[in-house]
Symmetry: C2
Subunit: 150 residues, 2 copies
């Protein structure tokens, strides 16, 4: 039994890729009997500093969030620019993209995971924090997202 690299094992979010976020948000809202959340769009690259596979990318995504118990379900509609969202959607179609964990010390955590053969795929900043997608698919059969809120 080894130390938990993430610092916790509390899943805070499931991310689902979709082609049409307005349509699928409405279906979710109707199905779960909640208001349709307003979709937001991730920041432009100058602010988000988005990097995909080590390169800066102008890719953005529309996001919509539903609170489903203690965790958030996130719908993601990527644009056409290079990103893990676009790549995964093109390869696998609509469906689950990641499970997310809140962490502290992003830089250190990413390094620890890279040392464990789980490389960084994409990272970026958002208002009040930052995210990193980790290619853990070979080992965990699902991608991880790390979220660090300041």
């Amino acid at each position: 039994m080894s130390k938990n690299l993430l610092g916790n094992n509390f899943i805070t979010q499931i991310g689902i890729l979709v082609h049409d976020i307005e349509k699928t948000s409405q279906v979710y809202a109707d199905f779960f009997g909640v208001d349709k959340p307003e979709a937001i769009i991730t920041d432009t690259v100058d602010k988000a500093q988005t990097e995909y596979r080590g390169e800066s990318t102008v890719a953005r995504a529309k996001l919509a969030f539903f609170n489903m118990g203690s965790l958030q379900l996130e719908l993601i509609e990527p644009d056409e620019h290079p990103s893990t969202w676009r790549e995964y959607l093109d390869e696998h179609g609509e469906g689950v993209h990641h499970i997310a964990f809140e962490i502290e010390g992003m830089k250190e955590k990413v390094q620890l995971l890279e040392g464990a053969q789980m490389p960084l795929v994409q990272k970026g900043e958002y208002e009040g924090g930052r995210y990193a997608y980790i290619d853990s698919v070979k080992d965990l059969k699902v991608m991880l997202e790390l979220l660090e809120n300041d």
Copy 2:
């Protein structure tokens, strides 16, 4: 805004299909710093009354459960007999199969969902309750599992 057919929107479980449950359970246990849970196997058809696409099936699966915050992560290794687990694993490879909700009144819920164009795919009994997999992939981009515990 319509009534919530399920009665709640609290995700209780994420189910992940794997080829080798012993191997992936050990990876999860090591990664999250917890003990490796002992895998269980679903009951035989006489007890589980398993039905897949309206037909009785002898299919069984090995299951291993991890508590990840308020929800459970379930690893599933199906046998070779016809089931949603085997079908989905063959078609999509390893990865997320469903999100689960606890419900009351299984028969009525399944009927309501079928009326909403979300057909029953598989059902069965377990010690203390029963489950149903619902094909909600077209609308929700992920399969639903209903769990009713007595």
